[in-house]
Amino acid sequence: MNWKFSTADELLARVSESGLGFADYLVARDAFYSGRTVDEVRAEVAHRIRVSRAALDRGTAEPQVSFSGMTRGGAVLLGASTGWPVDDEFFRMALTYALAINEVNACGGRIIAFPTAGSCGIVPGVLWAWRDARASDLGPESIAFQDAFIMASAVGILIAARATLAGAAGGCQAECGAAGAMAAAGLATLLGADAATALDAAALSLKNSLGLACDPVAGLVEVPCTKRNAFLAANAITAVSLSRAGIRSVIPFDEVVGAMKSIGDAMPASVRESAEGGLAKTATGMSFWEKIR
């Protein structure tokens, strides 16, 4: 079995040669590299999905207040809001959940990085919202739900292979931007898209976050990170909405990842997680340095 790929085209070819389904090929590949059985890999995926749910439940139930004071229970406010301009249960839940999970992270709670801690709310926020609003039969044990998380992970693997998932290397396009693309692919999969179509939905989302700066206030994984989790959840939902209408990305996924890499390389160090530019250097942003000493 050939486990090597670095592009979406290669991955789809490997899957096709393997005779396995898309997610099963990736599970078998993880099993091969880690020395686990495929059942153990599936069980670990289920465990991690449960961890994401525990964070979500915590962030929506208890107002999260951080050491710096920049995070103050936003997800609880959002969940209770009656002022939604778009009053759809799935949409409301997706934004609320994504924010909730990332607020738990900002406050030192237990989360699962996906792909990073600062972007950990986006994929589980969107996928759990779909489950809660529209597909209550799904759960950590269901293969269809696991396969959506695995599809999202595949997008992360492809971005890591040819660009980066580190804000310090590629700006926030590499963290929340990547997570938005991953969430789009995961949601498309839940809605029945094949792998190629899900990857195209990921391309649509990723294109709309190219060039995002990573300029965290006081160097903390908090502002703009936590709220950006809600924004990128919406980005992913928009991408899947377009994709379901048959709209395709003019630039294919692999080329979008290449563009992301070249943009990341061109970004100044001041907006690559150094806290020396952008929002971090605003007057209000600067004032938080003193507060956290």
């Binding site: 670095s6 599970v27 595949a154 292979a161």
Partner: protein, 227 residues
């Protein structure tokens, strides 16, 4: 994790206590390994943060993460968030020192862990390189490069002919597959450090056998972070 073998559980993970994979999870792992490398009871510890860690450690809970690691608590364990109280209860004094400017050669996210106990001293320098991944770059004055992904045996020995061959032989005779062997020495004929990474947990009997070899002064076994 070798280049090109990034899998779904590398992207969907790790499970960790927030907020930062590099400033929280990575720091806990560095301190955890530093503690594992020191086979004595710890009476006192000092953790020095450099660069970005020095500037942001309070907001990121890097101090709690470091103390947690010293107590054997890994990044996914909720006890990390109240590790400072646990250390007080266990009577482990830990000093946290922020150094805003580190030596040029240090990675921008570096932690140095110093441990005292049983009349012994150890100093380990680790870099948190992103996504919770780490590298131990210096162990008791020796340059090293361990990422915690494999079991490792550190053999401190007098620099003489044949040590690598004997160590390899002992491991091979017990059917251990050696993933890498790196030798570091201070000066020719002086002390040298052999770092052997192997697949699979090494039993104490093998470590004892290595320790009994005449040129060997010390053997430290570092379990992988996965085990």
């Amino acid at each position: 994790m070798a280049e090109g073998s990034v899998g779904i559980l590398d992207i969907f993970g790790p499970v960790m206590i927030g907020p930062s994979s590099s400033h929280t999870a990575g720091v806990a792992r560095i301190a955890f390994l530093a503690r594992k490398l020191f086979p004595y009871p710890v009476e006192k510890a000092r953790v020095t943060f450099y660069g970005s860690l020095a500037r942001t450690y309070r907001g990121h809970g890097s101090d709690k993460a470091a103390v947690a690691g010293l107590l054997g608590i890994l990044p996914d364990d909720e006890r990390l968030s109240y590790s400072l109280e646990l250390a007080r209860k266990e009577g482990l004094p830990v000093e946290i020192v922020p150094e805003y400017e580190g030596p040029e050669r240090y990675h921008p996210n570096t932690a140095v862990v110093e441990l005292w106990g049983g009349g012994k001293y150890s100093r380990v320098r680790g870099a948190s390189i992103g996504g919770g991944k780490i590298r131990l770059q210096s162990v008791n004055g020796f340059e090293a490069d361990l990422d915690g992904s494999l079991e490792a045996i550190l053999v401190l020995h007098h620099d003489e002919v044949g040590v690598i061959a004997i160590v390899s032989h002992i491991l091979a005779a017990s059917r251990f597959n050696i993933a890498s062997v790196v030798s570091h020495r201070k000066d020719k004929g002086d002390e040298a450090l052999l770092v052997v990474e192997v697949d699979g947990a090494v039993p104490a009997s093998i470590v004892a056998q290595l320790r009994d070899l005449p040129p060997v002064r010390e053997v430290v076994y570092v379990p992988s972070l996965r085990s």
